[in-house]
Symmetry: C2
Subunit: 191 residues, 2 copies
Amino acid sequence: MNELRTLLRDEIGLEPHEIDRFIQKLVLKEFQPKQELIRAGAIARGIYFINAGLLRTYHLLDGKEITTYFACDHQFISTYSSFIEQKPSFEVLEAVEESKVYELTHSSLMELYEESSKFEKLGRILAERNYLCILDRTIMMQTKTAKDKYLDFIETYDKKIVQRIPQHQIASFLGITPESLSRIRKQLVSS
Amino acid sequence: MNELRTLLRDEIGLEPHEIDRFIQKLVLKEFQPKQELIRAGAIARGIYFINAGLLRTYHLLDGKEITTYFACDHQFISTYSSFIEQKPSFEVLEAVEESKVYELTHSSLMELYEESSKFEKLGRILAERNYLCILDRTIMMQTKTAKDKYLDFIETYDKKIVQRIPQHQIASFLGITPESLSRIRKQLVSS
């Protein structure tokens, strides 16, 4: 919770009483590995700040899971388009490992926006980060070789994600086959 | 300008004096067809509200122009990642037709954010819309047939864009060849 307080104070510029107001709205929830926080077809009820754990979003394409995002300790995650539009989600949000998360519901966030436009800054920063994230992935998919995709991934992402996400999920995130990923990893170890 | 006032009042909830303050920051500029508002490698100085005209963003991939976004009258456009991060743009923003646009510079927007967090809502809404836009295009690219991509495009996009953007730019936006687009258009006319 201290990490969230620090983020709200330093990055969003909220005053102590605004931070308290924000934190009053959160509900702590626990999820087991493979448990779904948001199902495909359901409306994303909340956005989640991860206290401890590892989660991902994915969707099905021709029967295969395509992982689109990973997040771990002290990061936010949701099926974001469903959350902002309050329309059924085409993605699933699931726990990869046992996870403790703080849920902020959409209605709570709308109440905060109503109470003070200072909370809008949090909404803006989240939306801008999500935009940059999806743009990075799109460009990476279009322009990089399989090896460069993986090198970028291990440089950019949190160590916990790199080390503990199953390889087939990383492969689908990078848009390469598990066999290709395994070959690249072997090359890197032996070079 | 009335369209911008209406948007700021109805969608962002700004008061008349805040709308005036916003509008004081704008500079009206005119661009000729093919003129670049933002060059590749330059930092996006502004975000543009289109008074009248037609613009697009594109980047080069293997020497080919890939169009990533179109906008026309009463819409916003920029090379958005460069604008929010104030880093060199990998994309070009250019006028497709003669265009009159209101420029809001990054520093002016930062001043508005400082003056009142009510302007943050505009930043949030723009970031959320840009997120949804890039997500739609990514999903469209991954999941739709060439014909469905085109049908979606003519349904979703403003008539001015559909009718006046050159066909090869539409094809690159949809990730299909100009020949394939031409075939689909003939099929649709004859069916």
